[in-house]
Amino acid sequence: MPDSRTYDRSRALDRFLAEIEVRAFRIAQIALRNEDDALDVVQDAMLRLARAYADRPPEEWKSLFYRILENRIRDVQRRRSVRSRFMAWLPGRQNDPEDEPDDPIADAPSEEPSVVQRLQLDEAIGVLEGALRELPRRQQQAFLLRALEGLDVAETARAMGCSEGSVKTHYFRAVQSLRARLGDTWP
């Protein structure tokens, strides 16, 4: 039977993961462009955090979790890169299905306020995601951790394993790139 300390820690971990899981999934999905891969890396990051860092103070969990998640995302991207290089050698192979854009029907929203609103939002989200995917990986990471997860500069630096100055630079460049890309559609 678990003692009270273990029980408290389990509850805290459950609350923490419940709070971040969907955002983490979105960050992974934007980075990997694939729902199943995103789910896999988030699940793996959760397990690794639970196994290795559950004893650490809860205020450290967020940075640690996103560091683990980023490493897993990089692993998947590296594997894909190797695989695509290998597949390019095979005759009759044009495209990797995973490189194709997401199916909008498969990504149907769970709530539908109205058809017009939904279409407008779909379009805006699609344009934004496209622009985010075009960003260099570090800029994308800094921007999503700050804008979507709401980490401050210090937490983002810990999660990214870089200095706070680098975070500010990556973030600033990301905003500039997004503005340049979305400026026409977003007056």
Partner: protein
């Protein structure tokens, strides 16, 4: 979000709102899978509570092996250094080595032929004493 001017802040706020919207629209199937993953992780954390002494124990074999290797290295190092030094010149050292080799070989031959040094010494002593009494 910390834009340097009002326009940037507005832009960033809009991006953030859209991203939040995209999070809210993650479907139930994905949420269910994330929930299952979270439960598995929490169970994992509860199943494997780590204690400092236990962690230390897991490191003991490695630490012991390293310590033993260091000890062996420390013991062997001076001997090896001694052996590598020439004894009264290189030729003497070689001759001593050869003597050691020959002695070792002769002892091995004695064992192979079943030569019992004790028995022969006793027999010689008996013969000597017999000669003494008869003579």
């Amino acid at each position: 979000m910390n834009g340097s001017d009002g326009r940037t802040t507005q832009f960033e706020q809009r991006v953030r709102a859209l991203l939040e919207e995209s999070v809210a629209r993650v479907d139930h199937r994905v949420r269910a899978r994330l929930r299952a993953a979270r439960r598995a992780a929490v169970e994992e954390a509860a199943r494997a509570p780590r204690a400092p002494w236990w962690r230390a124990l897991t490191l003991l074999p490695t630490a012991g092996a390293v310590a033993a290797a260091l000890l062996v290295a420390l013991v062997l190092w001076p001997q090896r250094m001694d052996q590598s030094l020439p004894l009264n010149g290189g030729g003497t050292a070689v001759l001593e080595d050869l003597d050691l080799l020959v002695e070792a070989e002769s002892e091995e031959l004695e064992l192979i032929e079943g030569w019992d040094r004790g028995f022969y010494e006793w027999a010689v002593a008996q013969a000597d004493s017999g000669r003494g009494t008869s003579g």
